[in-house]
Amino acid sequence: MSTSDSAVLPRNGGGLRWLRGQLRNIAPFATLLVLVALFSIASPSFATLDNVANIARQVSVTAIIAVGLTFVILCAEIDLSVASVANAVGIMVAFFTLQDQSVNIANFPLPGAAAIALALLGSVALGAVTAFGVTVIGIPSFIMTLAMLQIGAGICAMLVRGQIAYAVPAPIELLGSGSIGPVPWIVVVAILVLAIGHVVLSYTRFGRYVYMVGGNREAAEYSGVNVKLVLAAVLIISAVCSGIAGMLGVAHFGSAQQDEFDNYLLDAISAVVVGGTSLFGGQGGIGNTVVGLLVLGVLNNGLDHVRIDSFLKILIRGLILLLALVINVYAQRLRAKA
């Protein structure tokens, strides 16, 4: 699963040692299998083709955000602004689209292509501001993206002023809520973004730098890698992924309004971490994130099928995240020792 090592390191006899080294990849996968088995037994409606499509649709927006976040976390940084940036960019694209008479927003209608381009540019700009703060000024990403979270919320508030917008450009509408045959477009886009993320991380020079910077920043520096450039790039990539998720999300939900992405910050971080990408950087990848997304998706969806107290659901998700964090840190230690 992890592109960084399982494929290239020889297994070298010692099976147990190898297994321990792979804990971060195996544990999430095992969790996924167990959850699927449990829910399949508990509810006949869970293991149906329809429901699989449901799960895929439910995790799509999170998936797109999580791709960018995977880059950031691999570099041992964090981006807390992803959901807020998604919301802001989603609102931007609606802001540049002609809205219905009933919507009382002082918006600025443009042709669809221009609206999309401007919104994308907006996401790049937000990412660039974060990157500037982190790499040039030297603000820790944790703090800088917290500020950006607030700035994103501010942009949302300024643009919609408590109103709700509905219209988005036609291509966005199609990708966000249309489908080809039985397959929703948004699922296709999510798979595409995941695939691109995977290819970039595993097969390009830039991807290698991401792993190296996350693995040992000082060593990357001493190898003549432009560490600041890599960090700036991952923060911008994260913002652009969030932006895409935001635009499609707005079409997917059918409206653009304040605070509608609030759950996605925790979901995206959970997906990456539950999947086994190391919070200390340098290990993991999109393969891990895919498994993390499925664990989260299956859990959310499955809990609905077994008709569990919906308040308990929240607690269960929290506990699962805690468990994943424990495994994450523990796997790091085992591997350092192995």
């Binding site: 090592d5 020889p10 010692g14 020079r205 040992n216 432009n226």
Partner: protein, 498 residues
Amino acid sequence: MQSGAPLLELRGISKSFGGVTALSSVDFTLEAGEIHGLVGENGAGKSTLMKIIAGVHTSFEGEMRIAGQPARHRSARSARDAGIGMVHQELSVVPELSVAENVMLGVQPVNRLGLVDWPGMMRRARALLAELGIDVDPRVPIGSLPLGLQQLVEIARVLSSGARIVILDEPTSALSPPEVEVLFGLLRRVRDSGRSIVFISHFLEDVLAICDRVTCFRNGRLIETAPVAAIDKGWIITRMIGAGHEELEAGYTGEIRLDSRPGAPVVLACEAASGPGFREVSLEARAGEVLGIYGSMGAGQLDLARALFGRTALSGGRLSLDGRPLALRNTAAARRAGIAFVPESRRSMLFAQEPVYRNVSISILGRISRLWVKPAVEREIAQRQVESLGIRPPSVQRRLGTLSGGNQQKVALAKWLTHLPRVLVLSEPTRGMDVGAKEEVVRIVRGLREQGIAMLVVSTEPETVLSLADRILVMKRGEVCEEFAGGTVSKDRLLAAA
């Protein structure tokens, strides 16, 4: 030494990592009140044996007895409780914590409320450091100190922990000669108090000077143990490497000829450069010449080297490359300009979790690929380096962290040898290498010199500079205080100048 059971006794110890045998049926005894030297080539298994004793490796074959009692540690912690303390080859200080906290790590004094007693801790740390003759402020973060002092502080921590068995894995590699003297005084006092020390080192002179008995390792086997009075360097080298290499380490006690090349074109020049740790340094690195910069710990030569690679910014003065002004905004700019650098600490140079080939290829990735990485090409290039540097085991797929310390150091050098730079700056290039490998470095550096590369060798070890340099600058308190160009120089004169 007393009769009866030895303090520590190991029987039939074997240990393998996956398919690699690191130790095979080793019998080793440590008597009470002795300093026991361990020598052997890089990868011979010295650190592995010590990690078994210190409870770091818990799965192995064979048995261990402490004072006659069978012992089997479950963890490093239980080994510590049994009175075994170890200073690892790789420093394991916590850079962000203060010196005092590092000294007292795990044994912080607490007050009645159960909180850390800060004033008490500072007082005790200060007293301890003073007693050991280490002159540092216990309040500063340890990461801000030069490597040598960090090493001394870490040794101080283990010595003061009251361990009966103290294992020092290459403790002197980062120390300057006066610091080594301080350490030796300390070790003798510890021994005379009846405690025992295992001393691993590649500095055979140090081993002969401080140890009571010496054990040689080769390829995971214990070859022979002998009292130090009965042996000499040649004896050790024969057992470490085999017969016929006794001339290695012939020593740099006599006069060394310098053949500087005053006529060669200047590649890298530095005019009145100042920066953190050094002031007003002017120097010229010439094509095909090795410029040695010697100074004791903290004299500024290591800081200068970092600045020449763009790691730290100059606060004054100018650099030029081939006569053209050179501004180094960051290390990437230095790499592009054709400057390469191997820092003194391998932890800050290598990626322990990545396979060897990625460690080798990282600095030339831009040359072998534009967009897509080409692992096959990387592996092939790395394989050539691994073979030509004699890195063992010779597999480029292994995770770097599983190599022995000296072999990791060779990988750090290998990184820059695939695409030859214009200027190669080596900071402590032979630290942690066995005598054979040191000779190998000398050979490599000579080879690079023939190819017209301008080299700077920066070190706190006179031997390193003497064995490699064609011209020598001596630094003191951040400034260049003497130059030896042409004629001869000796270790004594070098030490006197610094």
